[in-house]
């Protein structure tokens, strides 16, 4: 589609060719998922009357945000070429630590929240440190962490609280202000919006800025594309990977605090299986499982597709016996559409 004549083209370096803004847009990793999201949106708008209501949108956004907050760091980690299977349970761990520390020490709730941040970051550091030190695949390392955390969540809660859920901390000092930060909601034009949506948007913006505008962003793409090559050109591979795991831990902390302050009691067995949902959201959003390619915005779109599908089925009032089937089929379709568009785009550029 170039204006240059074919013979001229032979002498020009292909990297110096100007690409049109449209093509630039088409080459973005999240494009396929955006088309997929639009398709899911249109689909449910047609089959479910209540889907298009403003209040429904608030619900869909809330469901998407609770997945999306975790999908952002998981996507970054995946671009960096690694997995974290402990992400789902880490959210529960983080909530449990805040709750139990505050309760057992009869401390101001904010103290528990702070301790939880430190401990959760330490878990993320442990993942990254073990990975870079042992050179074992992240699958093994984080599977180990996942199992250990599952056991610790249960064991510690039972040991300390005597039951498998924590005690209510709703009557303790600092609870109202912490709830405001992590689990409040406000009304905009008749729509109830949860504060997690703000956290989500903020995290996506921050992650996008890191990926596209900072040196750390280049490092992330470099270690995901090829760790040895990256190390050879001076990228601090270990530090980047540890940082990515700590990013996952930080977001797990935010999600965990949301869990704690919206329900004020935490069940110790929760969170198992959610790590896959985060990974799926990132993959739908255009992250390659092999690393080196993807975007934070894509992960947000992936989470949004998840939110729309999960709640859209409820709005459409389909027979619930088939719930998971529909969910699986929708996800597969969205991902296929995503892959198809990417292939078309790659073929024309």
């Amino acid at each position: 589609m170039s204006t240059l004549a074919p013979n001229e083209l032979d002498h020009v370096d292909e990297r110096l060719l100007r690409t049109s803004p449209l093509k630039k847009l088409l080459a973005r990793p999240e494009l396929g998922s955006i088309v997929g999201a639009a398709a899911v949106f249109v689909f449910f708008s047609l089959v479910a009357d209540s889907f298009l209501r403003a209040s429904s949108l608030g619900t869909v956004l809330y469901a998407a945000s609770t997945i999306g907050i975790m999908a952002v760091p998981v996507a970054l980690l995946m671009i960096g070429g690694e997995f974290d299977l402990s992400a789902g349970v880490m959210v529960t761990s983080s909530a449990l630590i805040s709750s139990m520390f505050s309760y057992q020490m009869t401390a101001n709730v904010w103290v528990g929240v702070g301790v939880s941040l430190l401990v959760t970051l330490a878990i993320g550091f442990f993942n990254g440190f073990m990975l870079t030190r042992t050179k074992l695949p992240s699958f093994i390392i984080t599977l180990g962490t996942f199992l250990m955390l599952t056991g610790l969540n249960l064991g510690f809660t039972k040991l300390i609280s005597g039951t498998v859920s924590t005690k209510s901390i709703a009557d303790m000092e600092g609870f109202p202000s912490a709830r405001k930060l992590f689990a409040s909601q406000w009304t905009v034009g008749g729509v109830e919006l949860k504060v997690t949506i703000l956290w989500w948007v903020g995290l996506v913006a921050l992650a996008t800025w890191i990926l596209l505008r900072t040196r750390a962003g280049n490092w992330i793409f470099a270690v995901g594309g090829g760790a040895d090559a990256a190390r050879a050109v001076g990228v601090p591979v270990s530090r980047t990977k540890i940082g990515l795991y700590m990013g996952v831990a930080f977001c797990a902390w935010i999600s965990g605090q949301h869990l704690l302050f919206s329900f004020d009691v935490v069940q110790s067995g929760e969170g198992v299986g959610n790590e896959l949902i985060y990974i799926i959201a990132a993959v739908i959003g255009g992250c390659l499982i092999t690393g080196g390619y993807g975007s934070a915005i894509g992960s947000a779109v992936g989470a949004f597709i998840f939110g729309m599908t999960g709640k859209g089925i409820v709005y459409a009032e389909w027979n619930p016996d088939w719930f998971t089937f529909f969910l699986g089929a929708m996800l597969l379709l969205a991902t296929l559409l995503n892959a198809w568009i990417r292939k078309r785009v790659e073929a024309t550029t």
Binding site: R53, T59, Y62, T106, A122, Q185, G273, K311, Y315, E317
Partner: protein, 339 residues
Amino acid sequence: MTRLRTGGVRAAVGAVLAVALTAALTGCSSTGGKRAEDARKAAAAQGRAAVDTPEWTFAMVTHSGDGDTFWDIVQNGAEQAAAKDNINFLYAHSDEAQQQAQLIDSYIAKGVDGLIVTLAKPDAMKTAVEKAVKAGIPVITVNSGAEQSKAFGALTHIGQDETVAGEAVGEELDERGKKKALCVLHEQGNVGHEQRCSGAKKTFGGELQNLYVDGTNMPDVQASILAKLQSDPAIDAVVTLGAPFADAAAQAKKTAGSEAEIDTFDLNAKVASGLSAGTLGFAVDQQPYLQGYEAVDLLWLYRYNADVLGGGKPVLTGPQIITKDDAAALKGYTERGTR
């Protein structure tokens, strides 16, 4: 930088400890927390053996998943009865039928003096239970499997009939003048859950719909119930099948601006205070504490005195409908994990 300085790690660990300690010393809450609980517990008595029978070993194998609040209460009941009856009490659980059967086998091999099992997946347990009976080990079934218990050779069954419990819910909803109810199932494929909802459907005069939610993901539970309430404003009652989900339903109701009444199966401290405050309508309690306590106690009675309870029929522990009036009296018991 391929290698990290260990000094950095040590500093990080030190920082965590330092913050935790300073936090514990300075930022105290004057309300709630462990201190308030200790004050409540100060006068509570500790269980001690009240009999001088030999120390028999009883084992309990349930189909509980990890971290289930309900089974925690069952276990509490069994342990307290065991302490009183001078019993060495063993507990194991698995939500996989095959593994549950293997656990029973290993206790038979160990030569325990009594077995307590749940028959949530009766066919898979048949061989194991019959093997125990053949080996001369008295078996009591609890919670689920009322129909199969006798045929497998168990002494008696202690539990709630899930269909009967569901029917009680349907009747209670009728009494409260409800027209359209939602039954929230948090484990797809759980037979007991299906029985509860279909039981309720049978006796309920209005319309009852099922809603499946992902029980391990609380925000998703809340969002799903919220979506349902928004799409159908005619729903005037939401029934959750486990105590922790009642709170999620109550919050969904608040956000949706719905008038629906939230009702639930099972109790916990939060449900008790919700009932007192009027945010919840009623709770159906099957008294899990009793299921554990009675099972151990009846095994002891059988060993000691060859007593059997129930006369060949299941001994029912529920359903007990708990409303605002009863909730205040039960709150203390829910907080200590026995109701």
